[in-house]
Each structure stands twice: as structure tokens, then as C-alpha cells.
Point group: C2
Chain length 453, copies 2
């Protein structure tokens, strides 16, 4: 009977795989925020995790330049040379938690050479060197997991790669940098200026002394690159991601947007279109009717639209020792479960089988389609608005809303125009022409508007 | 070198597991909403799915009482006896999509006896018979997956069971019935009465002719039972879930709650406390500041608080052919990947290893702690409010807000009191005493308030 032959195979399998019940041994490289968070979770939740996995996860060795007072390393084998960890024959899984793209890359490749699986939180490493790393890991038959690299504790990688595996993903849009979202939230709720809020963010530890990676969108672009690859099945192409920061957003922009019913968020957007794939990070107006517009402070959220499931949103802590550690250890659990699985049957690194990645074009930003919010200063004279709307019309741009204010001292008045969706190159041409009008002063502030249809 | 021995094992494994690249054969039982959605996804997204899984998923046979015009069954082997499907030796995975708890139970157990894996969308079956089904599946070494049973297309089961596997889950709270949420949304946005909106919901197909399962919270209780088991590692205990429907909520309740800054939603709440586990479905006030309060229409959302990740929220379509089909097929993909995995290394059915399920007490509802919203009619006389607040105080209940309205014809005025958190049995005692006061007319409407701290 089919039933009993399954039983027999089961018993045989238990004998062959008798070793699977041994503890899984992890080596941790890096004891910064994420490293200490990961250690603390493994120690504090050891019982809960073992109840789930059916085997214990042991910290075999930690490599770190210095101890971290945030975690108790009593009894743990510590080395000051992180390469000891990747060369330690006892270790099954290496946690790369040092960050950066030079030593971390060498560390990860060495771990792979040594047949060790890797769990990382390093978005820059995966975004910039993931293609090479995954190719090497495929050849060696080891896993490289990176849930913690995007949106901290939110299991978004798993959600897209596995939970939504039946869908063609149409687009995704995310608030995936907590620093930027903290700043935009403060500007919105309190009417403050960017540089003022940035200073506070730095004091609170939400922004680095050099905040460029965060406020200029590079960190978000790293993460978006990864999300787009697992959603669309394309190689990682960080260098093609259009990246624009939030440092030019004014409190006046925020106030006008609010008046029109929109929040300004620093969004990463990836969209599949007939002509290619959009990959872009930039300040974006989104309607307050969208849940995403109401995600505030340092929290992250990612909306994904699948052709079967429709729109989904996942929200949670995008950074921090414990939230990020939560994703690191979830990955360790996943890897532990698949240690003895046929490598051909594992979830592929980029969600799609090697060899079936698509060569879809990544669109240059001039080709993307978006609504636009324009904030300009004009002379308060007859015919100015007519000239402007004429130029818009000539470029195929239709208007959704206009705010024009009364004069408030001086000659210039603010004029805000929100357009319907149009190709960016048309908007660029219109902006150039409008800026040349004698009655338009200086440069026009241009912020994209996303309707997430 | 370690590297080359991994390579060798890899080649050997490919030879041993050469069969894994064969198509996976599924049998579908039921061609209703979910059945037709699942078929359509498999047909329309065949290429995308194969790109992900590395093997094709073939509909080997469909068992259904009648064809469904919503899907193209050309070339598919159809039988009018669903038991043909579970007895078909060619089939690897059975999709149980007929619903109900009698024939469906027999069908699933037969599939398991025959060594077939099962994917189901049947929340009632899992909630009421899951313990027995999983025990049988464990013995037979087969998988039973049920992502589609809770919150439609949202991969919440996978999220809690795997994405948050490093956490002790503290609580979860969800809008997990689209009918109830549609009704509460309409009552809120348009000031309508319950029975009026219910009638419209039935016309639109959002509610059944007999709407009891939905509006009385039984469907939500099935789903909550499942969520609580995978979150806390307890056996499924549907019969212990406190269930209260929304049919007694008035438009006046909704209006007063709104005035206090709260939405009324039909929530399922599961919380781990020192004294035991709370499992309850009932109308609930939640602050508009919570994202959950802003989830409207037929959409679902589940908030989960883990001790490492903090609060998370997942939102999406909770029902419908394609959203539910999305989760069914995602489960098929998961099962397909683990067909040859060591059964001891698979994700356990209830997220926790068999034998390590906890025997934690499920608290009777009198033991739960909650805030309360009280809506009553009182005589407009001196001392009434003092009597009421005296009774509350005697029962250890402190007041958060009060709304008292002027007389509007007649002797009675509305009085609304919102309390701080208190044990339910204390509130019950206070309500009994207040209702006995001569100046209080009739019964007091009592709705729980949740702060999701």
C-alpha cells in the first residue's frame, strides 16, 4: 500500500538523515547593532526557537573587533579576527553582520568557498555584489539569505519570494529607510524645515554624522534593487536605479501637498511596464487615503501589487538591533531547515531559477510615467497662468489641481500645479519652457506624485 | 577540500534526486470560487511559476460536481466523484477546495492515508479538526498546508510561522472577515444601520443568504484559532474561542466612538498573558491613530506583536477567487519544493514541533482585560452620573472619557463612558449594578476597547 511504503521511506530517511537533529552551529561576524541583537535573540528566545525548529541553534564562535556591552558573551568563543569564523570547520552557517562592501564581500566569498551557508543583513553588499555572490553560492550548493537586508524585521523578502510566488508582480512601492521617513514625518506633523529635523535625527541616533546614504536615498536604492530582483526575476542592477534624496524638500512643499490631500514620503518604486522596468527612489506625493501615506516615524512599509492577490501592504520596524536580528535569526531557522534539502529544490536566491532571470530593460528615468507636483514663484500679472497652462498643454500634460495664493508682500506669489500622469521627459520639457518665462522666478520645485493604481 | 566534497555530494544528490525535476501533479477537489481561481492562476501564470520553482505544476485531475464557466478546463481530466482525485495514484498534491467539515474531512484524511500532500483553504476544517488531521499527516510523513484558510491572499501564516520564527509572539489582532469589515465600514462612512448595510452586502455578494457565520464572528473565530496556534504553539481550540457578532452595533455607537477618536471594527484578538491565553472575536473600538482602524471595505489586515520585531501589520484581500487562489498556489509551490525534504526538517504544521505544543490555559472571557465603551440611556436628573461613577469606582474601574448629551425631547439622555483597562468580570459586575439603578433605562450597550499596546 502506498501508505506503508511512505512509512518505510520515512524510517529509512530517519536513519540516513539521523544527523539532522544535531544542533546547528552558527558563527557571527560583527557585534554592532545587528550582531548584538542577533546574539540576544538566540540567547533569550532559545527555547521558543528550538520548539519551532526541533533542534537548537548554537553560537559556536563570534568574530568582532570589540565586545558589545549590549550582549552577554559569557562562555562564547570570541575571536578578534573575523576570518577565523569563516574558516572554522565546526560552523554550518556564517552571519555576516559587519556591513560595508569590501571586507564583507571577501568574508562572504570565503565562507562560500568553505561550503558554509551565509546569512547577511548587508543591503549594499547584496545590491552591488549579489549577482557574483549568488553565482558562487549556486556552484557550491550553499544558501545565502538576506531577509534582514531589506525593511528590518518585516519578512518582506519571504513574503514576495514565497507568499506571493503565484503572482506576476506588477509593482511595489516602499518606505524603506527609517531616517528619511522620520524626517518627512516630523516635517509634516510639525511644519519644520529639513535641516532642523535632520539635526534632531542625528542627535537621536536616527541619522549618521554623514547622513548621505540615508537622506540621498542610496540606502533605499540598495533595498529597492533587491526587492525588484526578487519580484520581477531580474539580475541585481543597483547602478541603474534612479536615486534622488529629500534634502531639497521644503516645509512649504509639505504644507501645499497636505492641502491637496497628499503626504510627501521618500519612496522606492519598482514597476513592470510594457516598455521595461522602472526602478526609482525619490520624494513622492501619495494620497492620505493610502495606508502607506500614514506610515510614520522610523517605521517601514512595503506595498506590493500582484496580479492575483491585488494590493498588499506589510508594515513594521525597518531597523534596530532586535527587529533586524529577528530577520537574521528567521533566516538561520530557514537555512537550518533546508541544510539537507536537495539544492535544486531550495528557494532560489533571487526567487527565480538561475538561468530564467529576465533581461528586461531598466528604463531611464526620462521614460517613467508619473504625476507631478510643481511649486513655483510667479509674478502676479495677467496672463502668467495662461502661459504656464499653455506650455503644459503643448507637452500633453493635463492638470489635476491648482493652488494659487494671494500676494503676501513683494511681487511674487506661490503657484502650485498638480498634473495627471505623464512621461517624465514631457514634464522636463515643460519645466524647461516654463522656467524661461519672464514671469516665472528661478527654478521650479518638481516632486513626483504616485497614485499606486 | 571542503569545497570539492560539497561539489561531489551535489553531483551525487542530483543523481539520487534526479526525479525532482519532473512536473508536480496536483488534483483539485472543488471548482467553486477558490477552485476556479486556483485553476486560472495555474494556467495563466504557468510560466512565471515555473521560472520560480524550476519545475512545472500540472493539473492532473479536477473533481467537481459541475464545471465552472469561470475557468477553461479544456484538456483537463474532470471527474464528478472527488474521491477519484484522492485515490488517483498519479497525484502528488491534493487541493481540498470544497469547504465544509464532513465530506472535506473524509476527503483530506483519505488523501493523507494515500500518502498525498494536502493544500486547503478550509478554515472550519482546520480549526475544528486540525489536531486530528495534522497528527495523521505527521504519522504519514505528508504535508498539510493552509495559508489560504486565513486572510485570503495575505501570506500571514507563513509570515508568523517562518518570518517571525525568532520571536515570542505577544499578541495578534486582526480584521479577518471581509463581510464584517464591509458592514462596519459602511456604517462608519455613511452613518447607516446594520440591517440596512447587511441587506446591501447580501445583494453585492459580500454576505451569504444566511450571514450567521460572518456577522456572528464564527468565520473569524475559525481563523483566529489557527493564527493563535501557530503564534503561541498551542493545539487548535476553536471551542474555547469567545465569539460575539456585530449585529447589535448601532449607528449611534459608531457615531459616539468616532467622536471619541475611535473606529469600531470586528476584531479577532489573541494575547498571551501571565494567566493564560485570550482568544476572542467581538466588536472592538480602536483608535484612528492605529493603521488597523483605517483598513476598510472587504480588505483584511492582521497586526502581530513579536518581542523582537515589535508591532507588524500585514494587509490585503482576504477573500475572492484570485486572492485566495494566490495563497493556494503559493502553498503548492512550497510543498513542491519540500517533496523530497526530510520530513523532520520541514516546517511543522502548527509552526512548533509535535510534542512541544504548550498546554497553556485558554482564559474564559471573564478573565480578559480590556477597556470598555458603555452607551446607555439615563434620566436627566441630579446625581445620576454620580451614582454611575461611584459604581464604576467601587469595581476598580477608572474613566477615560465621558460624553453626555442634552435632552432632545423625552426624559432620557444618552450617556457614553469609556473606561481604562479592567478585568471583564469587574465590568460585568459594574454593568449589572448600574442597570439596576432606577435612573438607568434598559440594558447598557457594552463594546470592548483595544489599545494594542
Amino acid at each position: 500500500m502506498l501508505g506503508s511504503s511512505i512509512q518505510c521511506r520515512h524510517s529509512i530517511n530517519r536513519q540516513v538523515w539521523g544527523t539532522v537533529l544535531k544542533p546547528v552551529k552558527v558563527g557571527i561576524c560583527g557585534l554592532g547593532t545587528v550582531g548584538s541583537g542577533s546574539v540576544n535573540i538566540l540567547l533569550n528566545n532559545a527555547e521558543e526557537i528550538t520548539r519551532r525548529v526541533g533542534r537548537s541553534i548554537v553560537v559556536e564562535q563570534v568574530g568582532a573587533r570589540r565586545d558589545n556591552p549590549e550582549c552577554d558573551l559569557t562562555g562564547i568563543n570570541i575571536t578578534r579576527d573575523i576570518f577565523d569564523v569563516v574558516n572554522n570547520p565546526e560552523i554550518d552557517i556564517v552571519l555576516e553582520l559587519i556591513g560595508g562592501t569590501s571586507i564583507a564581500k571577501e568574508l562572504v566569498l570565503t565562507a562560500i568557498e568553505n561550503g558554509k551557508h551565509v546569512v547577511t543583513a548587508n543591503k549594499a553588499l547584496i545590491a552591488e555584489h549579489g549577482n557574483e555572490i549568488f553565482a558562487r553560492a549556486e556552484e557550491k550548493g550553499v544558501m545565502v539569505a538576506f531577509e534582514a537586508a531589506v525593511a528590518g524585521g518585516i519578512p518582506i523578502i519571504k513574503s514576495i519570494r514565497e507568499g506571493l510566488s503565484a503572482n506576476k508582480i506588477e509593482w511595489l512601492a516602499g518606505i524603506i529607510n527609517g531616517t528619511g521617513n522620520f524626517i518627512m514625518t516630523e516635517m509634516s506633523e510639525k511644519g519644520r524645515d529639513f535641516s532642523d529635523v535632520l539635526a534632531e535625527a542625528q542627535e537621536l541616533g536616527y541619522a549618521e554624522a554623514d547622513p548621505t546614504f540615508d537622506v540621498e536615498g542610496i540606502d533605499a536604492a540598495h533595498k529597492l534593487t533587491i526587492l525588484a530582483s526578487i519580484a520581477f526575476g531580474i539580475p541585481l542592477q543597483f547602478e541603474k536605479t534612479y536615486t534622488e534624496g529629500i534634502s531639497q524638500i521644503t516645509s512649504e512643499d509639505v504644507s501645499f501637498a497636505h492641502e491637496l490631500g497628499y503626504a510627501i514620503k521618500h519612496l522606492g518604486i519598482a514597476r513592470r511596464t510594457q516598455n521595461g522596468i522602472e526602478l526609482r527612489v525619490h520624494p513622492t506625493l501619495i494620497s492620505y487615503k493610502q495606508l502607506l501615506a500614514n506610515v510614520n516615524g522610523v517605521m517601514n512599509a512595503v506595498m506590493v501589487k500582484g496580479d492575483a492577490v491585488g494590493p498588499t501592504l506589510t508594515y513594521g520596524a525597518g531597523a534596530g538591533a532586535l527587529p533586524t536580528g529577528s530577520s537574521v535569526i528567521a533566516d538561520v531557522v530557514d537555512v537550518a531547515r533546508t541544510l539537507t534539502a536537495d539544492p535544486t529544490n531550495r528557494v532560489p536566491h533571487l526567487a527565480f531559477q538561475e538561468g530564467s532571470l529576465a533581461t528586461t530593460t531598466i528604463l531611464p528615468v526620462e521614460e517613467i510615467e508619473s504625476g507631478f507636483f510643481l511649486n513655483m514663484r510667479i509674478q502676479d500679472r495677467a496672463g502668467v497662468l495662461a502661459n504656464i497652462t499653455q506650455i503644459l498643454s503643448e507637452n500633453g500634460i493635463s492638470i489635476e489641481s491648482v493652488i494659487q495664493r494671494e500676494r503676501n508682500g513683494g511681487d511674487l506669489v506661490p503657484l502650485v500645479v498638480m498634473t495627471h500622469t505623464v512621461k517624465e521627459q514631457n514634464m522636463n520639457a515643460a519645466i524647461t519652457a516654463i522656467e524661461e518665462l519672464p514671469d516665472v522666478a528661478g527654478k521650479i520645485q518638481r516632486i513626483r506624485v504616485e497614485h499606486l493604481a
